[in-house]
Structures are given as C-alpha cells and as structure tokens.
Subunit: 394 residues, 2 copies
C-alpha cells in the first residue's frame, strides 16, 4: 500500500491548493478502537497516543506522534516524524505557530461518515489546545477534500476494483450452475463463503450479510442475513455480494429465476418488471458524467420505475466503491432528510459508483441488479459486464 | 455474545440509576467504518443508516434504525426496534418527547477513546435535530457510565480473560524452549504467529506488533515491529504479546536473558535491575484496591524505580484489558498532559489491569514484565502467574 499512500498524500496537497487551504489535519488516538476511516489512505497501522497526521500545501507531510508509536510511522518513510513523550500539545502548538496556516481542514461532517472520522472528544481536545490562538477560528470541514481524494480513483485503484469485480462475476456463474429448488439460502451463502476462503480473498463487508441471499417474496432488506428457507420453483433469487482483493472491493447483485413446472420462460409480469429495471439502470449509466448531481441520476431511475407503476425503492440508487463497499462521499441518492446535502454533490471524473435499483414483486420476489460504473465525460462506463436478462434455472 | 449483551444492557440500566441519568444514547451510522467501540457491548453486527441504540432507566432498550437494518437488530431480540425509511429525525424526536429524559448520556470524552465513539459530525447532527427542544441542554458525557460498564467485569468476562492469559503463558514456555542465539526477532514472531493460526486464535492487537519482540539495547518502543536483527548471547529478549480467545484478550510481557559465554547466571547489574522491577510490580499489585486512584499506583512503582537510580519508564504503568488490549477508562498512569484527568479516576472492584513497568539498560536491553491483575478489596489478585526471575537461555 506504500505507493498508494504516497499517491494519496500528493493528491491531498493538490486538493489543498484547489480548496485554498493550508493544512489538512487528521487528529486521532487509539486508532484501532475509534478509527478515522481516512487514516487507511495516509498511514499503515495504528497509533495509540494522540497523533496528528498533517499534509501541507507545500507537499510536505508531518506526523506528531507518541514516542512509542514513532518508529512505526517513521518506517513508512512518508512523514517527517515529531515524537513526544509527555505532552502532545507542546509539540503541536509550536508546529502550528511555525507553519501559520490560514485555513485548516479537519475530518468532520454531519452528512457523511467517510469524512467524519474525528470523534467529538478529539474535537473538544483540539479546541482546548487551540484556546487563545488564532487557529481555533480557522478550522473547517475536510469533507470536500476527502470527497475528491477518495472519489477520484487512480488507474491502479480502478484496476484493483476491476479484479474484485471479475472474481465476483465468476462466482456468480458458479452459482448459476449450483442453484436448485430445495437448496436453502444459507447453503448458497455457505458455498460462496467457502469459495472466498479457498481463494484467500475476503468478503467486501460483514460476513453475516456478504453474501446476502434472498429468495421469493419477503420483507427483509439488503442488510439482513440468509435464512434456512428453501428456494422454490417460481421464485426470484437475488444475491448481494462483493469481494475484497488487494484492498479494494466489488459490490454486485444478480437476479435468478427458477422456472415453475411447465414454464419455458419467466411469466410476462416478471419479464416486464425486469425490463423496466434494466432500462432504469441504462438511463442512470448514460447520465453518469462529471458535474451532474447525484440526486439527478437517482431521480431519473426512480421516476422511470414509478412511472411504470412499480413502487419506489426504499434506498439510494447507488454509492461509490473503493476500499470499502460504501466508499467516498458523493451518492446517487434521493433528497431525503437522512442523506442531508450529499445528494446535491456533483460527480467527478474517475468516481466509481454502483447502480442498484430494485423492484419488489409480491408474486415472485425482488428483482435487482447492481452494476459498477465509472464516471467519464462521455457518461458511465460499465466495469461490470451488465446483467440484461433474468438468469434462468431450469 | 448474546448473553453478554443482555448482561451489559441490564448493567447499563443500573448505572443510569447510579448516575441519576434517564437515557443512554449511542448514536451511530455506517458503523463498520466509523465504529463506536461501545457498540460491540450492546449490539452484534453493523448498521448503515443513522441509528440510535438507547437504554432507559426503566431497563427497556430501544433502537431507532433504518428499515434495511431493522431485521438484523430485531433478530438480536434485545431491542424494541423502531424502523424508519426516509427520516431518522421524525422517529427520534417523538420518541424523546414521549420519554422526556432530564439527563441524556452520549458517548464523547476528550480524555479516553473508550467513551469517545461519537463522531463530531454526529454530534452536530444531533445538535441540529434537537434545536428548539429542551433536550439539547440535557446532553452529558457517558464517560463515567462506560468506565463502570466496561470496567466491572462479570465472572464470565474474567473467565474468558483467564483463558487468553493461560494460553499466552503456554506459548511463552514454548518460546523458552525455542530461543537460541542467532535467531532473528522476526523468526520468533513468526513462530508465535504460526501457533496462533494453528489454534485458530487471534492476536490481541495488530499482527504487525503482536507479538513485539525486542532483543538487546535498542531505541524502539513497545509499538514497533520485530526486525531481522539476530539475537545475541549477553542480551535481554523481551516479548510483548497477547491473544484474543472467545472475544477477550490477554496482554503480557516476559523477559529472557541469553547467558554470555562462560556465564552461569546473569551479570549482577542486570539481576539487580530485574529485582527492582519485580519489587515495583509487587508494590503496585498490593495497592490495587477499589477507591485508589490510578495515579497513586503508577507513582508507587515509578518512584521505586527512580529511587533506585533507574530512568523513569516513558509510558503509563498499566491499562485495563477485556475486549481489547487497551480496555476501559481508568488507567494506572502518571499525571502527564496526554492522559488528561484519567489518572485521577478511582479503581473499582472487578477491574482487570496490566502492570508493566520497564527498565532500559544500555548494556543488555530492556527488562520488563507485564502481569494481569484483578482489583479486589484485599488488593490485586494475579490472573497471570507472575514472572519473578529472568528466564535464562543457556
């Protein structure tokens, strides 16, 4: 990851320039317990004592860390390390005074967890240290910097995401050969977990819901676990699944249909719903260009589905993927209270999004696909070979 | 873990009573990314949308969570779940109004990471939701509740820590048989990592420094990784190591000495230093009683060591262990700025502490032990069979 860290530190210095800020400060302690997610992009490992990881506009990176943590930060080779024993404050304040930053970015955001790694206690600690200095009034949210830092994927990053996607789609093909009436959701999940282990990959999120396997009509949501329910003919099976390979993840969904006795193809109503779903995905993908707002993409899809008489899906259309399945800041989301101002953010070139509408059909189950798409000036480019038809199991 | 969760929720309700508070609110989102460490004590798994886990004085537990997360919270069986789709606020505010709490505890602390799981952004989000309500002025830190909740270990919890300790000490005995001049620090570490894997245990902290292996005089601290340095005769070897078994950890250190050619026992100076070290541990352990301040224990040990002419150790004397290696809130620590007010906190019965002074000897290396001790009214009770002499390698 060392090269990726250098890449990100350089990118961060450029983003300070773009945002007319002088210092980006990541202030953490006991980082294995309360973990600022951005720390993984700029440091490998954990620190125990209060620690400041700092990037300046002049492209220098500094770390003020406890003496016991100093060696592990120094060994990374990317920071000028200032170790302390008794007092963080006594190293930190002189550093700030020497640098004299006019605008300091710190990691908080009421709107997105990605840029909200600073705990409230560390914020109060910083406030207290800065009492009586001009710096106290110069603190701003790093949300925009972090949104771009994580969002604009380098070629290396896209390559890693692609490997995770390809491996996941390969496993989905195995599922197609495996699926049989009578298998339980848990059995399907166990097969995929076993294949992860055999390949020494990792699940992209919690193993309890990665994979999530749903069969037939049900009330569970995307974040619930597979059950002992046996899969029946005449049901839609949906799997939500992703892999982490080389530190980057996929997050994909596919829908299968188990033909009922006598059926050669899915019932008309199901086929029509799936066609509407796929059309809605295509609408979104075509529109995924830099400068467009996430909410505009979401509503294109959402409106297409409701205009055809189907219920609205109860979640956002898509999120970014990268180091984790819910990556970055910008979202393809509706203007609901819980999303704050995030749906209003504009997309940037190089961002990688999922597109994952769903249609719940009381007769057959939930049809979904989840594709992964890169934002380019010409519109979205599929990184996942998109699903265009229900996968049929005879 | 389900029974442990019920145990903790019940304990929390009692602590609200003790602290004259009405509601303990753990407010999180994307909990796999920015993770409030206390969540593991009261919930299994992760939530994505803004979620409130709440314990009331009347021993009822409520969770307001996004609809996609609801099923996984419901399946725990310990919370009355209130699911929402579009707006957290619209479920949360009426709940508060109905309950009418006079004192609400939330998880922030400038002094300890353990009680500081709320991000600053979530704090701002809560402030905004509570604008114009009386509840905004009723928010207080849950530090004291969390300190007791984690600190007072149940019999089951102590039993799990004991298992981790016993297994670790067993591996240290294997190391005694293994150690030879010419082995590198990394080879010793690799042996222990392999033994962890064979037993399907986990390291108690980051694998990079668990175990930490130090040989001879060096400048590295307790949080740096083993190197390719070969272990020499006439050197002290120190290992800092712990295991996680059944969700609870050990954290122990032992010191070995490789006799120099012709030596039958360690040099006088080394023996004397080790004796001073062990005496300082005994002083601390005898004094580990409820009501004593952590700083008092630390200074007993620290002063004994410096009074014998040795340098002060550059860290706290000890920390709690439990679910993680740096557990709980109260510490056996000196009154340094970086520890804030934490050294002034008093010990409670049932807390489990490490005691880990060190003496650096420029000739031979660093002598340390790290014992694990339970606080009782009669003084500390060793959970680890204490090291009394340097372990000699011929």
């Amino acid at each position: 990851m060392n090269l990726l860290i250098e890449e990100k530190l350089k990118q961060a210095a450029g983003l300070l320039e773009e945002g007319d800020a002088d210092l980006w400060l990541t202030l953490v302690r006991e980082s294995s317990r309360t973990h600022d997610p951005i720390l993984d992009y700029i440091f490998e490992g954990h620190v125990v004592w209060p620690s400041a990881f700092m990037v300046t506009r002049s492209r220098e990176a500094f770390a003020i860390v406890g003496s016991l943590d100093a060696l592990s930060v120094e060994s990374l080779g990317t920071y000028k390390v200032i170790p302390y024993v008794q007092s963080f404050r006594e190293s930190f304040l002189p550093f700030l005074e020497k640098l004299g930053p006019k605008k300091i970015l710190i990691n908080y955001s009421s709107e997105t967890a990605t840029a909200d790694g600073m705990t409230h206690g560390m914020y109060l600690y910083l406030q207290e240290i800065l009492q009586g200095t001009p710096f106290r009034e110069r603190l701003h949210s790093s949300q925009e910097l972090i949104g771009s830092l994580i969002g604009r994927k380098s070629q290396e990053e896209v390559g890693r995401i692609q490997r995770a996607i390809d491996a996941t789609l390969g496993l989905f093909e195995e599922v197609t050969r495996l699926l049989k009436p009578g298998m339980t959701e848990k059995e399907v999940a166990a097969y995929l977990s076993q294949r992860i282990e055999e390949n020494r990959w990792k699940p992209a999120w919690d193993v309890e819901t990665c994979p999530a396997v749903f069969s037939g009509p049900q009330k569970g949501g995307a974040h619930s676990s597979p059950t002992d329910k046996a899969i029946q003919r005449g049901e839609v099976v949906n799997i939500d699944f992703g892999l982490m390979i080389d530190g980057y993840v996929s997050d994909l969904q596919r829908s299968w249909y188990l033909l009922a006795p006598g059926e050669k193809e899915p019932p008309e109503g199901l086929k029509k719903a799936f066609r509407v779903l796929i059309d809605s995905v295509d609408l979104a993908v075509k529109a995924l260009k830099p400068g467009v707002k996430g909410v505009e993409i979401d509503s294109l899809t959402r409106n297409h589905i409701t205009s055809q008489g189907y219920p609205e899906f109860p979640h956002a259309l898509g999120h970014q993927v990268g180091r984790c399945a819910h990556d970055g800041v910008a979202l393809l989301a509706p203007p609901w209270e819980r999303y704050g101002n995030i749906p209003e953010l504009t997309l940037e070139e190089g961002m990688v999004f999922t597109v994952e509408p769903r249609i719940s059909l009381p007769q057959w189950g939930v049809v979904t696909v989840e594709e992964i798409v890169k934002v380019t000036p010409q519109g979205g480019v599929y990184l996942s070979k998109p699903q265009k038809e229900l996968i049929l199991v005879g």
